[in-house]
């Protein structure tokens, strides 16, 4: 396997040809935050949380979808990047209704974790609060669009791994909605195999297993202290 060498955060890192910056960075101990990325899926580069700076490039690039190149000089943690990441997470929090208190994924949510990690203690933007709708017509699962951040991990896992392509996206921009088959209730889907991969892939509580969440939601003191620390 041909290998190449690049510099990530001033450390020389070896990578396989074709490997992403993200994967090389993680191996070398630089933890780049991600949201829409999920190992095993084709990277979408859509959430822009994993943006990194590469010397000589005019603008930051997504680490998940950019290949490591010989001699590349990558910085993953600059002030500019942190500010951009905070901005993205704040915008996502303001886009729909992320009410952690009543969310099935409270304490297990990647969006929440990311907010904590970035030290977000308030949101600068107006909460848009659309009525995005809930579909609990499926026997075992439910989807709450209010908690959806449109990362499309469910769409991709269903298409690329399960091969069912039950999920897709309807509408565009702010009106984008994850839809089931031909925009029909999940319970009536003819293609859904009920495998639950989408539920596993969802970074927030948008896709959930009915009745299961209460088991997850144990109070995690460590995380609570993390929240508290980040406020300072």
């Amino acid at each position: 396997m041909p290998r190449l060498t690049l510099t990530i955060n001033n450390r020389s890192v070896s990578a396989r040809r074709g490997e992403s910056i993200l994967s090389a960075a993680r191996r070398s101990g630089s933890d780049i935050p991600t949201l829409c990325n999920l190992g095993g899926l084709i990277p979408a580069g859509a959430c822009r949380v994993c943006l990194v700076e590469v010397a000589g490039y005019p603008r930051p690039v997504p680490a998940c979808a950019t290949r490591a190149e010989q001699g590349m000089v990558v910085t993953t943690d600059t002030e500019r990047l942190t500010a951009a990441r905070r901005m993205i997470v704040e915008l996502l929090l303001a886009e729909r209704n992320h009410s952690c208190a009543v969310c099935v994924m409270n304490q297990h949510c990647q969006l929440q974790d990311l907010a904590a990690r970035l030290g977000i203690d308030h949101v600068r933007f107006a909460f848009i609060s659309p009525l995005a709708g809930v579909d609990i017509s499926h026997e075992r699962f439910g989807i709450d669009h209010n908690r959806c951040i449109l990362c499309r991990r469910c769409v991709r896992v269903c298409d690329e791994i399960e091969g069912a392509h039950t999920w897709d996206v309807d509408g565009r921009g702010a009106a984008s909605r994850i839809i089931c088959d031909l925009a029909q209730p999940w319970g009536t889907s003819a293609t859904c195999t009920g495998c639950g991969k989408c539920v596993q892939a969802c970074p927030t509580g948008a896709l959930f297993e009915k009745d299961a969440p209460t088991k997850k939601a144990t109070i995690d003191m460590e995380r609570l202290s993390e929240w508290r620390r980040s406020r300072k």
Partner: protein, 542 residues
Amino acid sequence: MKTPEPKNEKPTVCGGGLKISVCLGSPCLASGAEGVLRALREAWGEKPIAVIGTGCMGPCSRGPMIRIERDGYPTAYYERMTPQAACTTVAAYLAGAAPEQGRLAPDFPFIALQTRVVLEQCGRIDPCDLNSARAAGGYRALAHAIGKMTPEQICCEIGASGLRGRGGGGYPTGTKWELVRAASGRRKYVVANGDEGDPGAFMDRTLMESDPHRLLEGMAIAGYAVGARDGFIFVRGEYPLAAQRLGAAIVDAGKAGLLGRNILGSGFSFRIRLRIGAGAFVCGEETALMASVMGRRGQPVIRPPYPAQRGLWGSSTLINNVETFGCIAPIIRNGAAWFRSVGTPGNSGTKVFSISGDVATEGVLEVPLGTPLRELLAMAGGVSGGSFKAAQTGGASGGCIPASHMDVPVDYESLKGLGTIMGSGGLIVMNDQRCMTDVARFFMHFCQDESCGKCAPCRTGTQQAARLLDRIAAGEATSDDISQLEQLCRFMRETSLCGLGMAAPTPVLSTLRWFREEYENHVRDRRCPAGVCAMEGTPCRD
């Protein structure tokens, strides 16, 4: 959509050499050109006068336009024709007079000062008649290219001409062609981007409606040069007439052996198919356009790989703007050196602009690159309804040029230096009655509606920016909101996935740069200096 059939029955010029052309472009049709053509044909159908329907003559806001050519008389253009007025005018001509009513001055700057290269045959030929196009030199460059030149020579010639992408990016066309030509793979594609979505842009429509064969010829030369056998034209769904005329042109050219299998007996085959957009601005972005051509949801994917590396169905693909393809035939016919002699160094050739807004004459102008903005305005008859305030270039992805920079030469680099872009060529002129905050707000709402929703910065950023601008327009904002808006816009420009999101904040950043005090008036004094934004609790305005 039902459109008139401008096919010529009597293409020859007779009847004392009287030849009447009626513009059948979309703007003239909308103002009644069809009736004018019908009336003229009914009145003189029996008599030997050539009455032909052509494409756009330029001054769109003065339609329906007709042109009268007669031996011994200067060519005359008549504006705002009604069926009756047209018949009266022609009758006067037959009687040996040249009536003044509705006639544009012989040196009418909008027409007289143009340098037509891409649009040279627009308004002269019948777009629905292949013979008319061929008589005017159409497909001669294709025959020359296939017969006398190698693909390498063509790419070289295009490179030497200094032609740059007319879609707005300004990427050297020759380099792009050479990349695709050199790419490996058995299948390659050529795609024409006719998804002209910017508000205020209608240059590509003009070319597609008025001289569709010019586009087909350019694409076929490109196909030969890069080694592609298939081409697609992506026309936006809002251009039914362009799609209809292109479709008919493809069929005609195929029948004449100018497209399809074994073109002109050379062994080179090239097929062109039409793809009609479904109404998404983002499909003007090349990766989204390709997704749409392939029948997928029109949304961008990350580049690299660039289309030249991996495009349609994984094959190397050449994507150029419609106007870029329109430049190809003249370059092949007249040579790269001639093309370079037009325009300025580094910005060779001409650019088509669609000028609209507060000007005396709205329409389509073609001028050498590097022509000062002031001259463009003068050609359009100057600013109407007030004094010049700003001109928006590049539509929703561009910025504005204030009065202090009216002498800027309009080329890629100069516009970039002013924080705007050339864009595809839409030029919206605004007088002092316009509120720049309101302009920025309009474009941000446009981008919010057109965002595909894939990447977070564009989808959510445009929503929040539009809200902030709404607050400013309503007189509810604080000075904090302006800095937040600025921050948000810089963030979107840096982090969005595709060109739409990167460029969406440009109108805001540009108006903030040149007209910041107007924003401050809205916030601090709760007053709209231009009197456009309705604010509650403000003192009564006139």
